[in-house]
């Protein structure tokens, strides 16, 4: 392709898409490795999903972390140790804002600017077209690499429920405040962490609550033996107990604390512990026991303005909240660049590196069993090291690429999970960090 005069060449600079937690980590670590960075953010402030001011933020007024502070903070910028074990979402936002200010990241961010397309132009370089959010003229700039950190919790996945319903149906993303629930008859669909949190919210506010789940899950408490449960779990992992033994311990400790949930009418889990994304909720069993939450099976259709369940029963809520998750969406990238399957799920090395495009990487597209921020940090360190190696030592970079690029996900992840849509990028954070560590070692500067 010819250089056209209206394409501004940013030479060695890297384009980062998104200024949420993952994007901020990418900017910081790329700059720390000597790269100039232009970050594009369609909102007018940092924080991405954690910024409740953003239209597409999924947080609601009572959102708290479900992984504890030490397993959630950036490894090189700890949260204040005076904060609670499970901070509130506004604390996480202030943490991200302080991170951005501390490392002077905002000077690299173009707010209110959307990325329209990223097109490879050969030699690993990219033409990135940007536009002001909500229209305006577009601009094309050429970058040495593109790092995508656009998040995966903003495009609601809506379930297909046939039929007509007279009440209100909202996605969990539209739930913001307890006032929306007060004195209503609420059906919450979805057994993920959001679904369970919302069922509990509803139990505290609404007149009547049904909670529809498709399968039985392991509902872990937030505290075990007086410690945050993930810190107890980390101890088992540190002792390198085999999976089977951990599964047995998990069942035992749950049996002794939460007890048998099938007696409230919940289905028994159809999988072993650690085989699905962990559900952490201490209050759900409590409200089940108080009869404030009625567990119901899957919803099959709306009929006569009511909701029909898989067992044929009909219930008549006036508010249905679908806590059915989000779809990752990369409208600015052609699917083949990410080796995406027909459902739009990219196939990336370590869920981060495009297999055929060495200068295209993704940060934060993970569903870990711990906080995402530490993983996004190490991902972006690996991306920065990789880009630096490729620039400074192309011969070694080629060797590393040859070895790494063909490795399938199974090569590093031993995780067995139930085969559902939400679990394809589920990772065990220990396995994942070990895999990233291996890559970092391969890219060590030659002595």
């Amino acid at each position: 392709m010819h250089d056209t005069p209206d394409i501004a060449d940013r030479r060695d600079a890297v384009c980062v898409i998104g200024a949420g937690a993952s994007g901020l980590a990418a900017i910081k670590n790329l700059r720390e490795h000597g790269f100039a960075v232009d970050c594009y953010e369609r909102e007018t402030s940092v924080g991405g999903a954690w910024n409740w001011r953003h239209d597409r933020s999924p947080v609601y007024s009572a959102t708290h972390l479900i992984s504890s502070r030490p397993l959630t903070e950036f490894p090189d910028f700890p949260m204040p140790d005076s904060w609670p074990d499970y901070p509130h979402h506004t604390q996480l936002l202030s943490y991200l804002e302080r991170y951005a200010k501390h490392f002077g990241l905002t000077e690299a961010i173009w707010f209110g600017t959307e990325v329209v397309s990223c097109v490879p132009v050969g030699d690993g370089r990219w033409d990135v077209t940007t536009q002001s959010t909500g229209g305006g003229s577009s601009r094309v700039q050429r970058y040495a690499a593109v790092v995508v950190a656009n998040g995966h919790n903003w495009a609601p996945a809506q379930p297909e429920i046939p039929g007509d319903f007279v009440g209100e149906v909202i996605h969990s993303a539209q739930y913001k405040d307890a006032a929306q629930l007060r004195n209503r008859k609420v059906l919450v669909i979805g057994g993920g962490n959001t679904g369970c949190d919302l069922a509990v919210e509803a139990a505290q506010q609404a007149g009547m609550v049904w909670h529809s789940t498709r399968r039985g899950y392991w509902y872990a408490p937030k505290y075990l033996f007086g410690r945050p449960a993930d810190q107890v779990n980390a101890r088992l992992l540190r002792w390198r107990l085999p999976l089977r033994l951990r599964q047995w311990l998990y069942r035992r400790s749950l049996a002794m604390t939460t007890g048998d949930l099938t007696r409230y009418g919940l289905p028994a889990p159809d999988h072993r512990p650690y085989e699905s994304h962990p559900i952490v909720n201490s209050q759900l069993p409590y409200y089940l026991g108080h009869g404030r939450i009625k567990p119901v099976p899957d919803v099959t259709r709306y009929a006569d303005g009511k909701v029909e369940l898989a067992d044929g029963r009909r219930i008549d809520p006036d508010l249905v909240i679908t806590a059915t998750g989000y779809r990752p969406l990369f409208e600015f990238l052609a699917p083949e660049l990410l080796d995406s399957d027909p459902d739009g799920r990219p196939d990336l090395h370590l869920h981060a590196f495009a297999r055929k495009h060495p200068t295209l990487a993704m940060v934060g597209l993970l569903q870990p069993d711990a906080g995402l921020l530490p993983l996004a940090h190490w991902q972006s360190v690996a991306v920065a090291r990789w880009l630096r190696l490729r620039r400074d030592d192309p011969v070694r970079a080629a060797a590393v690429q040859q070895k790494e690029s063909a490795r399938p996900v199974r090569g590093w992840s031993r995780r067995q999970v139930v085969p559902t849509r939400r679990h394809w990028f589920e990772v065990d954070h220990i396995d994942y960090l070990k895999a990233v560590d291996g890559l970092l070692r391969e890219m060590e500067p030659a002595k």
């Binding site: 720390e32 000597g34 490894p75 700890p78 204040p80 002077g104 810190q231 992992l237 070990k434």
Partner: protein, 252 residues
Amino acid sequence: MSERLLRFDDWTSPVPPVEREVVSRLVEGEGDQPPLLFVCGPRHGAWAFAERWLGHAAQRGFPAYALTPREKGDLRAHVHDVVQVAASLPRQAVLIGHGEGATVVAQALGRYPARAAVLVAPAPSRWAAFKTNPLGTLPALFAGRWRLNRRQLFSSALPADEADAFLQRMTFHRPANRISPVRAVGDPPVLVVGSPDDPVVPRPALDRTATAYGGAPLLFPGMGHDLMLDAGWAEPIDAILDWLTKELSAPR
């Protein structure tokens, strides 16, 4: 397994929070210079920097903070406190450690991407301290408390009554571990500063530490171990600030 990525200590038993004493001398308005965080060994307190260096640094445009290490903390707790305070500052900080505080800073550099770091009279040697003050240091050789005397900490140029007043304010603990340079995150520039006449940090040790960071020590002959309190305290801090100004203006 890498401790860098897998931080089981922090994940399973986080360091308990404490109230930390941080003394500061700030600069009016938002200047260009990064904040400085001074860290002393457990013998001193933030006061040792507040006495001279903090005000001097602030006068030259650097917002300056000093941290008193927590009582009865081990190396891990002290590193935790340094990183906590550094991360609480408005901008990426420069870490400056003195004596055993330099050992703490060297470790903290593996946990926090400092803008730059300075190790002043780093990691006092127990053996050197013993040779120059056998009675005070003997217990330290058996992991007990140690006591440094006036001759070790200050040069003869510092008036005796001033020196004694400083000694009065010091508390004595058992010495921390030896300095072990960990891989610093973010590749900050590191400067080693000391005195060839420091009775507790011998010259070869100073050279070794500087070599580990790829440089040579900046030397201030005639001064005792406590460069921030001794007579002529302005010289080392001015040299440190000059070095910083030069490093910070260089392209990264």
